[in-house]
């Protein structure tokens, strides 16, 4: 039960974006990916989530190749929170969140779809925004709406007991309260049938939440494992080219990076 990438190569024109990437992600754990700008993190998420399909290698969801799924079948159990999504037309917050239920109803939402939308709206403190026009929200508020939409998509997936959540640098416009909330919600959903793969920018956030942390540089996985076992100043220097000091967090004992 896992997502695995086997010898993935991906290039745009003559530029190699990912070089021979092989990696596995287990359910029930917080799998995070980190790396400098342009290292191929977002591309890796797009490949693993099925958005891009012109790669060499294999991507497996459990024992099935991702290419054997239809888009709709995949969408019923896999959701992706992207960096930024804009809307050109006025829609209410509730309507945007309901778009997340698209794979689950034919033309009009069922009672259950409406209940799920209400639940995720409450979970993300959006109750007072339900009828607001999405276009008038701030960047952080918009991101909360999309998180609610993405959670609604895989809140429960009756056809398949596995579900997959991808987060592609979701924390960009958020203050630290919502950064914490976003990741703690994601972690609270985790169980043996839920796989989480996320890209984050902030090294200390990554160290705090990750069970498995993957360091990506120039399209290659440099190191992959439990943060406490793999992170040291030499690794950070190698990946980010910054001199740092590593300390243990006074209360959790997890590593933190000072720079």
């Amino acid at each position: 039960m896992m997502i695995s990438a086997e010898q993935i190569n991906y290039s745009i024109g003559h530029k190699n974006i990912l070089n021979n990437v092989s990696i596995q992600f287990l359910p029930g754990r917080c799998n995070l990916i980190i790396g400098p700008n342009g290292s191929g993190k977002s591309t890796l998420i797009k490949l693993l989530s099925g958005e891009l399909d012109n790669y060499d290698g294999r991507i497996m969801y459990n024992s099935s190749d991702i290419k054997t799924f239809t888009k709709l079948r995949l969408a019923a159990s896999r959701a992706v929170l992207s960096q930024q999504t804009e809307l050109s037309f006025p829609m209410t917050v509730e309507e945007v969140v309901m778009l997340g239920r698209n794979p689950h109803f034919e033309f009009n939402p069922s009672k259950k779809d409406i209940e799920i939308v209400q639940e995720v709206i409450a979970l993300l403190d959006l109750n007072s925004f339900i009828y607001r026009n999405y276009q008038t929200l701030s960047g952080g508020e918009k991101q909360r709406v999309h998180y609610a939409r993405v959670l609604a998509q895989i809140w429960e997936s009756p056809k398949d007991d596995q579900r997959y959540l991808f987060l592609d640098e979701p924390l960009n416009n958020l203050d630290i309260y919502y950064q914490e909330l976003f990741l703690s919600i994601a972690v609270s959903l985790l169980n043996e049938t839920t796989t989480l793969i996320g890209v984050v920018h902030d090294i200390n956030i990554a160290l705090r939440y990750a069970d498995q942390l993957s360091f990506l540089k120039e399209g290659t996985i440099i190191k992959n494992g439990a943060p406490a076992k793999i992170v040291d100043a030499i690794l950070i220097k190698e990946v980010f080219n910054v001199d740092t000091q590593i300390m243990a967090h006074p209360s959790t004992g997890k590593p933190i990076v000072l720079f």
């Binding site: 888009k71 079948r73 019923a76 959701a79 809307l87 037309f89 006025p90």
Partner: protein, 346 residues
């Protein structure tokens, strides 16, 4: 400002019915509702319509008003579809070449039909003009779309600029056909520049009506997917929508109905712009409501515009395109200014 949907639909439908009756009644000859009823009864019984009023009603006024309503519905729904597809509130069939291409296709038939192989005429019969219009409209739309596309994305500035160029080509094609036309009836193709309903016939009502029924039904079935597409192509893909299939399907259906309408009534600009904009303010952007509401409001507004065209300079008649442009062009400028002049993605 959101309205209660049920009440909104009921009121809009009632207003449409009233406007349709008024449009039939008013004109160079006034027709009373009692005469309309009498004409219907005679027609049902298979009796001859003796009175001149009944003839005006059945052969002139009624087909004209119906063709007008159907065309209005087509243009308004087309505006919704194109704006949804391009994710942009300033797109409509008159601006991206569809109408001009269709007019060019139809004008070829009018001017060059004496030189065409009789095979065409036997195979296509009365559908010769609509089929040529469809091919012209599809070619122009596809050309605009593929020329404006850059990195799989269609941004609005190239779209409008290329649309302008293709429009110019299409309309100068119409001009050329007018110029070389021999037969005096063919000279009337100048009307394509501005649109008119003066030649409406039952045949046109039937063809446009059927095409509209099929095309609007198909697009209504896609309304939920079009809603998801509002999030952009990538997000729609993540939510299970086969984006390319959806886009191609909608583009073909849309071009078909706009082309057929254009073949019969000419280019009527800005209808597809006004109706969706007003409706989004009133009932929101959900295409499942927007498409049915556009049918009603499109029919309503274009019938009103045609009444204006007939009555304002009576007994002379104005091209209807002048009226829709006088109202539509300022709105278009307003929308451009509101949505695009201060955004970097123009």
């Amino acid at each position: 400002m959101r309205l209660n949907n049920k009440i909104f639909f009921i009121v809009l439908t009632l207003v449409l019915v009233l406007v349709l009756i008024a449009a039939i009644a008013l004109g160079a000859v006034q027709i009373l509702p009692s005469e309309m009823m009498a004409a219907f009864i005679h027609w049902c019984k298979g009796e001859a319509n003796t009175s001149i009023y009944e003839n005006v009603f059945l052969q002139l006024r009624l087909p004209r008003v119906l063709l007008c309503a159907i065309t209005g519905a087509i243009l308004a729904v087309s505006g919704v579809l194109m704006q949804g597809l391009f994710r942009n509130p300033v797109v409509e069939p008159g601006l991206i070449g569809t109408s001009a291409g269709a007019a060019f296709g139809a004008s070829i038939v009018f001017s060059l039909s004496p030189f065409m192989s009789p095979l065409f005429k036997t195979v296509l019969g009365p559908f010769l003009v609509p089929v040529f219009a469809f091919m012209g409209g599809l070619a122009a739309t596809y050309l605009v779309y593929s020329l404006a596309k850059n990195n799989k994305r269609v941004s609005i500035l190239p779209l409008l600029l290329v649309g302008m160029a293709i429009n110019a080509i299409g309309l100068s094609g119409v001009g050329l056909m007018t110029y070389i036309a021999r037969d005096p009836q063919a000279r009337s193709i100048t009307f394509w520049n501005l649109g008119t309903f003066s030649g409406a016939s039952w045949f046109q009502v039937l063809v446009t009506g059927m095409v509209a029924l099929v095309c609007i039904y198909i697009s209504f079935r896609q309304a939920k997917k079009l809603n998801v597409l509002l999030l952009g192509e990538q997000e729609a893909g993540y939510l299970g929508v086969e984006v390319n299939k959806l886009k191609t399907g909608i583009l073909i259906v849309n071009t078909a109905m706009v082309s057929v309408a254009t073949a019969f009534v000419g280019v009527i600009a800005f209808m597809g712009l006004i109706v969706p904009h007003v409706l989004r303010l009133l009932i929101g952007s959900d295409n499942r409501k927007l498409i049915p509401a556009s049918i009603i409001m499109g029919a309503l507004l274009l019938t009103l515009a045609d009444m204006g065209a007939r009555l304002l300079l009576a007994p002379a008649e104005m091209p209807i395109g002048i009226i829709t442009s006088i109202i539509g062009a300022p709105l278009y400028i307003f929308l451009l200014k509101k949505y695009h002049f201060n955004q970097n993605h123009l």
